[in-house]
Symmetry: C2
Subunit: 410 residues, 2 copies
């Protein structure tokens, strides 16, 4: 087959062409992958058995005949779960099942944003959100974080500044509960202040709550959606972190005023039904026992990671002990450029997330990196961090100290 030249047919502004996939890195510290040992395989299998046998015929009908919001028993489970865990009072009719929370991002962006608009988010922020904002051509204001998440004093200043420039930001995108990548949790008082500011300036709030199931002690503040009285909050969550990411099942809760504008943008005739059926069947009886076991396994892994970092990097690696999640946001000495470290480490089989891809402030993020710890084994964590330290030492001269005896024996 000769090569037809598609180039003259391509519209302006396409992302760069994809490269051929060459497989996962041997030591993969990127992506929201989960712990393979913690996938509840037997439970999912039993759930599939029961629900396919009972309702498999319904697969002949789009959305299983349950309408565009998705499989009703899954929405019923979520209404109960959101009430119990996040304090959200809603019904199944307020919940839309989506193809992973990434589709939620696309639906919210599609319903609110036009080129040239302004949005606000945390300064260190989920890469998938930042790349979407860039592709849409919106102006992004990054608000600095502290140990309690987005700093509302800085948010107040930013909003006032926008108002002075006659700019009305479309939304505040925030991950208040186990923020990605900083793993901070915003306390209730600050949530109230964020909501007060959003209301004052007439800005929508998009609460990305994907990691909220993975807090070590299970205790969390109420969701922004739950605390809001203004009806300006859109909430999204996911089963990627609590059950398994490859399933691609997320959900949104939103006032009908905006849900009704997002729904027509979901042009996929529904999300995968089998995943929805199996999740509903599995989660209703097992979610509350599965998730604590998963948290325990993840906590053990982050302890291994922190130990390995202390051992291999010593004081060169700075991080907070996270309260939950699957990632650690690490600061290396200012001389380290993690974009370069990323390239060099990848050649040695170690994949990391370089900070600049996860921040609106490239300079601030250059010596920072995100390390995901759920997917690699304890042994891979130890080995991968040791290799990373070797590469970092070779490329940047830090960490200076020699890896200790444990490493030599590995």
């Amino acid at each position: 087959m000769t090569a037809f030249d598609f180039t003259p047919l391509l519209p302006a502004g396409l992302p760069p062409a994809a490269a051929r996939w060459t497989g996962l890195a041997q030591y993969n510290f990127t992506g929201g992958n989960n712990d393979a040992d913690e996938v509840p395989v037997d439970g999912l299998l039993a759930a599939a058995d029961a629900v396919i046998g009972r309702e498999g015929r319904n697969l002949a009908t789009y959305n299983l005949g349950h309408g565009p919001l998705g499989y009703r028993p899954l929405r019923d489970f979520l209404a109960e779960k959101l009430k119990r865990d996040a304090g959200i009072a809603c019904t199944a009719d307020d919940i839309l099942i989506v193809s992973g929370s990434l589709q939620a991002l696309d639906l919210v962006n599609g319903a609110l944003l036009a080129r040239g608009d302004t949005v606000i988010c945390e300064k260190d922020c989920y890469q998938g959100t930042l790349t979407r904002f860039a592709r849409l051509g919106v102006n992004v204001i990054g608000i600095p974080l502290d140990k309690d998440g987005m700093r509302t004093d800085a948010l107040a200043t930013a909003l006032a500044d926008c108002k002075q420039r006659s700019v009305r930001p479309k939304m505040i995108y925030t991950i208040p509960t186990v923020q990605n990548p900083t793993a901070t949790i915003m306390p209730a008082a600050r949530r109230a202040e964020l909501l007060r500011l959003a209301g004052q300036y007439g800005v929508a709030v998009f609460e990305d709550d994907c990691y909220s199931d993975l807090i070590w002690d299970g205790e969390r503040p109420p969701a922004l959606y739950a605390m809001s009285t203004a009806g300006n909050v859109i909430h999204c969550g996911s089963f990627s972190k609590s059950i398994a990411p490859a399933l691609r099942v997320g959900f949104m809760v939103a006032p009908w005023a905006i849900m009704s504008r997002m729904l027509p943008l979901k042009t996929d005739a529904g999300s995968g039904a089998l995943e929805q059926m199996v999740l509903a069947e599995y989660c209703a009886p097992h979610f509350t026992t599965h998730v604590p076991a998963l948290r325990k396994a993840l906590r053990a892994k982050v302890e291994t990671l922190m130990e390995a970092l202390n051992e291999q990097f010593g004081t060169a690696a700075e991080f907070e002990d996270p309260q939950g999640g699957i990632f650690l946001w690490v600061k290396l000495p200012d001389t380290v450029d993690t974009m370069k470290l990323y390239q060099a480490a990848l050649k040695e089989g170690v994949a990391i997330n370089p900070g600049p891809e996860w921040s609106t402030d490239k300079a601030h993020a250059t010596p920072r990196l995100r390390i995901c710890f759920a997917s690699p084994t304890h042994r891979q964590i130890r080995e991968g961090v040791a290799i990373l330290a070797d590469v970092c030492r070779r490329e940047f001269g830090v960490p200076t100290r020699i890896a200790n005896v444990e490493r030599a024996r590995a």
Copy 2:
């Protein structure tokens, strides 16, 4: 919760707000729903059992660790199937699994179209394609059809006319195999002519092959993708029609030159893994026996539908005996406006697809309608058509004859 006013935040050009879903019509002759009795429930159940037990742990990794093109065994099955059924020589690396063929439409449109561009399609055409084109603000040239599908003489004229106006259409979108809604199949010679014209004018071809498994006698011409030597064809297909639509699994075959531009637009981190796993496990051994049984059931239903139409509408309903598929494209007398018929019938519990929503030529399509026959039972088909005839008679005075004795006894 008070009602926040999102209106000032909405960008221009959003589709109208969705209405609350009120359930499926009692007699539902719309949508690509399939025959519930023909869902291979036991086979899917056994497949789920086997594959979840064997590979369930892989759900912890995005795309099951098989990369962005999707689950490898499903792509392997498709490579073999496409070779056998459609004459397509390709490998698993040329195939992308998508979330139903609707996602394929979005990816192709995204990679090729900008506002103001020109596209070519069949004059009577899948509604989802037409609404997408409208939303994207592209100019659509509808080519008339005859019993052999898109008329290539008219296509030649349209392309020459575009050239004279210095317009280079971006693509020819076609459903050559069981065209939607006309159910025509384009013979090989006309396919060759379409490809020759596309090559001559430097236009891409998007072959939507969703219904090609459902030809009564199983015989089909080679796919355009298979016949093309220019490398300008993008092919898509689906498991919605052959297995079950609620699964939301489709696939694309495309030269890497354009696949590499579409892949970055698939921002959902992969399609649902469980569906892909179960389909691969089920289809590899069972596809070739399942599909003929499904065809037989569908053929029986279309015969019931044609009988019911003849009985209730007499000569007022004109249609061709289709060679496959799940829908019938019916012409009523010119005095009938199917947009109005649709509204009136819906009140009586009968849902149909009014012609104008399925055509680039509203006047031509006004007395036409699409009737989907796979989902309703034989009894529902008979009852629904009888109600439709009553409504049509009441609203438009046709069909004139009284329903026959069978109807009176019902």
